[in-house]
């Protein structure tokens, strides 16, 4: 157990913070522990955490995708436009919207792999461009009136107290964890993020991997966008605007290094739950949304800064503090 904690410092720290948050929330607002609230806690941010699972892969791989929120909006806009004009049956429209999202990921992925442009810049352009594309489709209006089954799927519970979106998220999370940490594919993602040159010379097709991940990220964003449309009951051009910051914050807070090559799905999951709990608890205590974001931001900085400070302290004073068998630092 102790060695697990030592080799998973970040996750352990997060688990502590999570527990503290849960305790704090329970004290601040006892209604927090109710069934409905726990479901709400996840459900109100379900799209963000779904995309965060995919974003973890992308960032561990050493890239970044700033365009996810815009792709969410764009694919939802495609769905809404197809539905409004009754061009195809609704089910087909959903598939088309997902294909469009995949294409968006493909375009960005090709720009990164074939043209060698940093993903930060490509997806920044995507962020602006796809948001604009969503607005072109929907202008200033909103489209709703989706089929009954679609609205019900997005707004009502499916199995017990869990709505479809939440079930989907749990499945994706479990799947993501399994693929990332239990399969060869996941190992490739880590190695490529750690050192692309080494990966390439080990026989990994780096380009193809990065391309696939960026496409996957866009498709997952598309799914989240469609889910959002079902939850809201209508779609606007501004759907999910600025969500990318929250999503990336959750992944980084989860211990995924921005430079790639390290991080775990467990950490990301803990970070997600922590952020959602903080927001939910503070919301129930009527704390302003900006302050909630500020607390999350402070947590982000603190969680990255504190270990560094402790590390420096320990280098300076190696004999102070706890027992460390491998204390000799280079």
């Amino acid at each position: 157990m102790r060695s697990w904690i030592r080799s998973h410092r970040w996750e352990s720290l997060l688990a502590l913070i999570l527990i503290a948050t849960i305790v704090g929330n329970t004290i601040m607002a006892p209604v927090y522990l109710g069934v409905g609230n726990i479901v709400n806690l996840f459900w109100l941010s379900i799209e963000k955490i779904i995309v965060a699972v995919a974003m973890a892969f992308v960032i561990i791989n050493g890239e970044i995708d700033l365009s996810v929120a815009s792709v969410m909006g764009f694919s939802a806009a495609v769905l809404a436009t197809l539905h409004e004009n009754a061009v195809v049956p609704f089910g087909i429209a959903i598939i088309i919207a997902l294909v469009v999202a995949a294409l968006a990921g493909l375009i960005q992925g090709l720009a990164v792999t074939k043209l060698g442009i940093p993903s930060l810049v490509v997806t920044l352009a995507g962020l602006i461009g796809f948001r604009g594309a969503a607005r072109v489709l929907l202008e200033d209006g909103s489209v709703g009136d989706f089929p009954e089954w679609f609205d019900r799927l997005g707004q009502r519970t499916l199995v017990g107290p869990l709505p479809f979106g939440l079930i989907l998220f749990l499945v994706l999370l479990a799947l993501g964890w399994f693929v990332l940490e239990r399969t060869a594919f996941g190992r490739k993602v880590y190695v490529t993020g750690n050192n692309p040159a080494v990966a390439k010379y080990s026989g990994i097709n780096v380009e193809w991997l990065k391309l696939r991940l960026l496409v996957m990220s866009a498709v997952v964003a598309g799914v989240a966008g469609i889910l959002f449309a079902a939850r809201l009951g209508s779609v606007r051009g501004s759907l999910a605007e600025f969500y990318e910051l929250d999503i990336i914050t959750m992944v980084l807070l989860g211990g995924v290094s921005i430079f790639g090559g390290s991080g775990s799905m467990l950490g990301v999951a803990l970070a997600m739950f922590t952020v959602l709990n903080i927001r939910n608890g503070m919301g129930l205590a009527n704390v302003d949304g900006i302050i909630q974001t500020g607390v999350v931001g402070t947590l982000l900085i603190g969680s990255a800064l504190v270990p560094n400070v402790i590390q420096r302290f320990r280098v300076r004073f190696p004999t102070v503090g706890r027992y460390e068998p491998d204390a000799a630092e280079p």
């Binding site: 602006i128 461009g129 948001r131 604009g132 594309a133 072109v136 914050t249 500020g294």
Partner: protein, 354 residues
């Protein structure tokens, strides 16, 4: 100066010239399509609206060249705009210069906070500034208690400053605010290109390890660059207050992405070590000119503008990356590797030649 530095300057000059060419081209194209385009009114519109973004693009470039980023500039603008406006509300007779000083001091303090954690705390810039983006916004939200500062309580000179003109020729005004922005560009272009401080920032961005081994005090310089960015963002906040008047707790949201886009379009490489302040200025100018030009073409609905802008940013960086690849040469010619290591290779070659 050694040949390598001369060679490093040339690609930048070409980039700047091509940006200038693009601006000129779009003016010509739009001038022929839209009536009344080549008028003083449009010139004034562009020059006044571009001020805040230009200053922020310069600010952003300061940290990007050293391979960092500052996502909190939008929040710094909000904080400094709000605090300055609040100060003026209670001290209506204060000297305008004092207001500018306050705005910049606030920005510098916030920038120092960023810089300290990035440089001395060893936390990656994107994480720090993502956190301070939220944190600074929280500070202004707490300070304001939800109240706005509305334009009517600000002293008259604030409104007048926006319209005040230094030189005017046939409807084409050179507004004071625009001239301040130009001044900022000139000063920092000189600092970054000529002063040792500036050149060292490029070195840090090109190859941090080589720079450290060369004895460059990276941490101090990065801290200074963030203080510079913060001060400029504070100045931008002052300009923002002058232009918009009504300042709320959410003022300035979204400006950080605009500043990065402007810098990137202007040829400032996100990998660090390349690009000029002049390029960033031209990038901001190009984006704003295009955006405001599209407004005047009634056939293009406003919803197309953002989509076009995204395409523009993409095209600009594609062009920039192709251009710099051709001009700076490559040591290692492996396509899969270069995206991660091209800047290092350039620096290695450059350092070997020096």
């Amino acid at each position: 100066m050694s040949t390598s530095s001369r060679r490093r300057l040339r690609p930048d000059r070409i980039k700047e010239l091509s940006l200038f060419g693009l601006i000129a081209l779009s003016v010509v194209v739009f001038g022929s399509v839209v009536e009344g385009y080549l008028s003083g009114r449009f010139f004034n519109r562009v020059t006044t609206s571009v001020v805040v973004v230009v200053i922020l693009a310069v600010a952003q470039s300061l940290v990007i060249v050293s391979r960092n980023i500052d996502l909190s500039v939008g929040s710094i603008v909000g904080v400094s705009a709000y605090l300055t406006a609040d100060f003026l509300q209670s001290n209506a007779g204060a000297n305008p210069v004092l207001a500018v000083v306050i705005a910049m001091a606030v920005g510098a303090a916030l920038g120092a906070f960023n810089g300290a954690i990035v440089a001395y705390g060893g936390v990656p810039a994107i994480i720090v500034t993502l956190g301070t983006l939220a944190l600074f916004r929280t500070l202004v939200s707490l300070y304001s208690g939800g109240a706005n500062v509305t334009a009517d309580v600000l002293p008259d000179w604030v409104i007048e400053l926006n319209a005040s003109t230094l030189v005017s020729a046939g409807g084409f005004d050179l507004r004071t605010t625009f001239l301040v922005a130009i001044g900022v560009v000139v000063v920092f272009q000189w600092v970054l290109a000529r002063m040792r401080w500036g050149r060292r920032l490029y070195a840090i961005g090109s190859n941090p390890d080589a720079a450290a081994q060369a004895g460059i005090p990276a941490r101090r310089l990065i801290l200074l660059s963030y203080i510079g960015t913060g001060s400029l963002a504070g100045l931008a906040g002052f300009m923002f207050m002058v232009r918009v008047g009504t300042i709320s707790a959410t003022a300035g949201s979204g400006l950080e992405l605009e500043s990065v886009a402007a810098a990137v379009v202007g040829g400032v490489s996100i990998l660090g070590g390349a690009g000029t302040i002049l390029g960033a200025f031209l990038g901001a100018l190009l984006i704003d000119t295009l955006r405001l030009s599209l407004v005047r073409v009634p056939q293009v609905s406003e919803f197309w503008r953002d989509a076009v802008l995204g395409i523009l940013v993409l095209l600009a960086v594609i062009a920039d990356s192709l251009l710099s690849r051709r001009l700076s040469g490559r040591v290692v010619d492996v396509s899969a590797v270069e995206s991660a290591t091209s800047s290092t290779a350039t620096a290695v070659k450059g350092a070997a030649d020096a």
